[in-house]
Subunit: 231 residues, 2 copies
DNA sequence: TCAAAAGTGTTTCGTTTACACCCATGA
DNA sequence: TCATGGGTGTAAACGAAACACTTTTGA
């Protein structure tokens, strides 16, 4: 933090990789159709320049709300991309965030004049502007490891969910088969799920009990040095 | 990454938390005595504004070399601090880095006209400028957790080190007693240490064999999905 | 021969893994 | 009664934790 020899000319932006999960589908990422150059008409991560009078954290939240109508349940800083030539116009340093939402609680702004927000399966992403592909890869990697040692996955599920949703979520994100019995035993051993009196209605087969995640209890345990972990 | 409505006026800086370790002493942090306002004469993390034609990663390296004559063995991005009011002069967003060096391989620029760099025990830090205290705390937390699942600690030791140095390092950083036998068994089981023919000369007691860390083997194992872990 | 640090094995305990059948529901 | 997904227990294998004495050196 020294005074500049000559005036610095770098812009500060934010970009967000927002994951959504629809049961029985892939993991999805939120993209915005650009309505200005460069990459006009192409897809890009939601984001934009930070305003002078807002924190960087606030900037992402604002952009997400403006561009897609979304207020993520979970949002954390991912990594700052600061190499040269990221943006063909200016030098732009971009602070990337990783967010999680349950898409059924968030109606997207679709087909408005200005912007179009849309979910894309991570297995069928269109090509994206700037270095956003790298950012997405970084986010995916982080999500895959983080979900194994912090109970962040619940942010992708409904408030009340059948156990199988959780199972499918982990299978999808981590990308490998899990032993249903061992997985359930492990999760249940933490005592972080509350059983509701409701059951899953749709689908065939025996209806599953619905659970909620006990966020308060988790915070409490966490303060006592508890570590959530799924192998 | 949208075009600005009015011109953005935010500076981008880097700050580095560089840890050094002297055997039998505390963990140390590198601070620089400021020779300009604000906080002139006070201590601060090494760092400064990013130049227009260098990447953010390069900016930290340059600043560290200019301000302290140091080229860290390990350096990674820590977190970006982007709240308002961090710097009394301008709006500054700062990308913080965490670095590790072996101080005996790095002579500091001390008492030069321009700058003075000095090691401080993390247990006896002076008060530091800006929000650097927060940055240091973030770095310490990261170091404490990361050293337990990545073999980064070797960057703090001599090229050849007795096993006891490693033991003390972990005791110091993690801040709790370790079982010498179990610790040695665990480390040795990874087969990442090469035994040299040399022994530790100084000190009393039975001389310990010196080891080197096999970086190549670690990289190889890592690619095969191996995870280093110390509980 | 004493003080100081290095070097070393075994048992116990808890956790992880592997594995398959019955249950509840709607069609 | 059949198809579909929900719900459950146990034994074997493995890794973590607890624990103390002998060795080598220099003073």
């Amino acid at each position: 933090m020294e005074s500049p020899k000559k005036l610095q000319d770098i812009k500060v932006a934010v970009d967000a990789v927002i994951f959504g999960y629809f049961d029985k589908k892939d993991l999805q990422i939120l993209l915005i159709k650009r309505n200005i150059e460069p990459f006009k008409g192409g897809w890009a991560l939601p984001g934009g320049l930070v305003l002078d009078d807002e924190s960087v954290d606030d900037a992402v939240k604002r952009e997400l709300y403006e561009e897609a109508g979304i207020k993520p349940d979970f949002l954390e800083q991912l990594y700052t991309f600061g190499s040269l030539g990221r943006d063909p116009r200016n030098r732009v340093v971009s602070v990337a965030y990783l967010g999680l939402v349950n898409p059924s609680y968030h109606e997207l702004f679709a087909d408005s004049d200005a912007e179009e927000a849309q979910w894309f399966s991570i297995n069928r992403l269109p090509s994206v502007a700037f270095d956003h592909k790298t950012i997405i890869e970084t986010a995916l990697k982080r999500l895959r490891t983080k979900i194994q040692y912090q109970p962040i996955g619940f942010n992708l599920l409904n408030e009340e969910f059948p156990f199988s949703d959780l199972e499918n979520l982990y299978k999808t994100i981590v990308g490998q088969e899990i032993d249903r019995r061992n997985f359930r035993k492990k999760i249940m051993s933490y005592g972080l799920l509350n059983e509701t009196n409701n059951v899953k209605k749709e689908g065939s087969g025996r209806p599953g009990k619905l659970f909620t995640f006990n966020k308060e209890k988790y915070k409490e345990l966490e303060e006592q040095g508890f570590y959530f972990e799924i192998k």
